[in-house]
């Protein structure tokens, strides 16, 4: 593999990991507050559809993103009402929302655009285009650093830059602010938050607000930046991979970035090199690379590498008692 090929693989890795990163951070907020969110997939899907449709109608990708976030937020709030207020089973609520998104996007897509569930292709400002950073062309011929700058760092869409800017912001919010302290506490021991005079329900809804927004951006990225249309089931299980990345990252924001990049790399490899020959002896099938994120997650959960330490009250509805 020559150097340029490596750069192209990494470029593909970055593009593919952005959606995982947004979704993973979305899951981080929810799970840190004690609410399991298996519904990342559904929120991404509904957002992808709404973002594509609104971007097509308005001609603005950014308005599309906002609309996608709104759709995702509505789903997050439904999840909140079911699991925080009515203390329903969080897995069931999440799975239900996934089904709802899957069906709703196809039905609405058919009804509006009559293209088998697809939206029309987005053109011009209705999609995110690549931003060429200053001097990208000038330094292209500089050895090593040149291609890294012009191919990998430059030439990404705005949402890619946003994703990597959001990571330190999330870290700061979680570990350096009052909000973060309370958020982490409510997922560990909600009764400690309750007796400190803070509303457990309020904190969890605030967390789900961030989940909704971030998941919305993830979905919108799929249909307005990574592709230029919405296709049925286009989230293709990335919500679950993001959840796996969250476990792999041990529920921490910086590690979430690492996990998303790793899983993005695996996806890039399976896209670019469907068959990998190892010394011409063994051929690694593409299915293996595709399954690797899940295998790695199981290995992590089994405690072979470090120890998974989820928020202690995740998945448990809060009932006041003393």
């Amino acid at each position: 593999m020559d150097f340029l090929q490596l750069i192209l693989t990494l470029d593909s890795t970055v593009r593919l990991s952005v959606v995982l990163l947004f979704a993973c951070l979305a899951g981080l907020f929810s799970e840190k507050s004690g609410v399991v969110d298996i519904g990342l997939e559904g929120k991404m899907l509904i957002s992808a559809f709404v973002a594509a449709a609104v971007a097509y109608e308005t001609g603005s990708a950014w308005i599309g993103v906002l609309a996608g976030c709104a759709a995702s937020l509505i789903f997050a709030m439904i999840h909140g009402v079911a699991s925080i207020i009515y203390r329903g089973d969080q897995i069931i609520s999440g799975v239900a929302l996934n089904f709802l998104a899957s069906g709703l996007t196809i039905v609405l897509g058919h009804a509006i655009y009559k293209k088998g569930g697809q939206t029309p292709t987005l053109t011009g400002n209705a999609r995110f285009t690549e931003i060429t950073l200053p001097f990208a062309d000038a330094v292209r011929d500089v050895p090593v650093l040149g291609p890294i700058y012009s191919e990998l760092i430059s030439g990404q869409t705005a949402l890619v830059y946003l994703a990597f800017a959001v990571v330190p912001a999330v870290w700061f919010l979680l570990y350096r602010t009052r909000f973060g302290l309370r958020l982490r506490a409510v997922g560990e021991n909600p009764s400690s938050v309750d007796t400190a005079g803070i509303s457990v329900v309020g904190m969890r809804f605030k967390a789900l607000f961030f989940t909704g927004i971030l998941c919305g951006i993830a979905g919108a990225y799929l249909s307005t930046a990574q592709a230029a249309f919405f296709g049925r089931e286009m989230s293709a299980g990335r919500g679950y991979i993001a959840l796996a990345a969250l476990i792999f990252a041990n529920w921490r924001p910086l590690q979430a970035m690492g996990a998303s990049l790793l899983f993005g790399l695996l996806e890039a490899i399976s896209n670019l090199y469907p068959k990998i020959d190892v010394f011409g002896v063994v051929t690694i099938p593409v299915q293996f690379t595709q399954a690797l994120p899940y295998i790695l997650t199981v290995v992590i959960l089994a405690g072979f590498i470090g120890k998974a330490s989820p928020p202690r009250s995740v998945g448990v509805p809060y009932v006041k008692e003393n």
Partner: protein, 521 residues
Amino acid sequence: MAEGQNQGRPDTAAPAIELTGISKAFGPVQANKDISIRVMPGTIHGIIGENGAGKSTLMSILYGFYKADAGEIFINGNKTEIPDSQAAIAAGIGMVFQHFKLVQNFTVLENVVLGAEEGAMLRPSLAKARQLLTDLADEYELHVDPDSIVEDLSVGHQQRVEILKALYRQADILILDEPTGVLTPAEADQLFRILARLREEGKTIILITHKLREIMEITNTVSVMRRGEMTATVKTSETSPEHLAELMVGRKVLLHVDKPKANPGEVVLDLKNLRYVDEQGVERLKGIDLTLRKGEILGIAGVAGNGQSALLEVLGGYADGTGEATLKGAPLPLAGRGSDGRSRRHSGIGHVPEDRQNEGLIMEFTAWENMAFGYHHEPEYQKNPLLMDNAGIQAKAAASMERFDVRPPNPKLKAKNFSGGNQQKIVVAREIEAHPDVLLIGQPTRGVDIGAIEFIHQQIIDLRDQGVAILLVSVELDEIFSLSDRIAVMFDGHIMGERMPDETDEKEVGLLMAGIVEKAA
């Protein structure tokens, strides 16, 4: 003795807390009935009562956890509404719950600051709290490393963090709910010193407990609750444990059990060089030699955590030990095949575990199901090779619940819906009715009210008189002394010595518990 340091204040000063006519019902259950109480500033006021008497409900109302159906709250003479915990904190009330409300993987500092932060950013709040914590530590002897992770702290230190949390919020009134239930005797003594210090500084303390000794030791005034009502409020110096016990249960109780002399028979259980290493690689039992005879109660005294639990676990069949054990003359396997809980029960060793909620019962299951557990595979519980005889088990459970005075005697209620004492009666009933040769009993009356203690003690003695060999583990020295026919003291995985209860006293046993072997006097 219990006269406070602030007796200079005239009795006409406004009470720190005054509750008038508080009532609270949960469905058909009237938890608090028209309760009125005055707590004077700068005093320690005890509230004592059996489990389920309504003490915790009353305090939860004061802390804004529940809303009272009727009644008024006055803080320092001013009528105060307390709709939530935030309002209680604002009114200067701090509460130390029986089960700590700490975030286990946060530092002490983070726990103290949580909910009382100064602004949106964390750093200034933490810095300010660190300073204040140092001051409070010096003032009240509440030393805790602010950077420790809470889960690494001992239970006693975690409790200090709870007290610090309240003081950080400038609480003048501290409520402690059963604070010594989880403490070792030494930790409890330290707590009492801290409480006395807080009283000296003018804080008002409400101490909820069911331990008469604590009330007598530290309170100025004591209020007694029974079945949701406040039955009496008396000065501690003008009452006695017997009088308080009578007020609590509404009839005279015998704090000392009258028991006929034991008539020990042949050796049933013989242990030689019993050892056990736990999962962390710590040796918990370091060569235990014990014999247990038919018809006697062998009491194991010791400060919690000196190997008593390990002894019960190995004998009960859920930890693997090494050494030699014989039961009724036959070898008893300590590891591998035949050393599990089922084989133990089958071979005649009944077990009332120390932790009834996690090891003795399945809280989400009904009483009748719980009364068959551990014995559910015995032929008498089977209807045919495929099905269990549920109707039969239910009928048997109903009958045992009647015999053991479990209230309410409804086998279809879930275990979690019974009070602590009644849960314990269910476990005790199950193990006794299986007619064991040896009964292991861990902390039989922990968190159990006085009426039930008396009942359970009587059952244990009756069982002994039927010829059962009983191994009793308890951290309550009173209990060891009043029940045991022979006392063995454990310290650091060793048996420090055996004594006959009428030839020793609490002082000598206490020294043995601390690992000090006194020279023969």
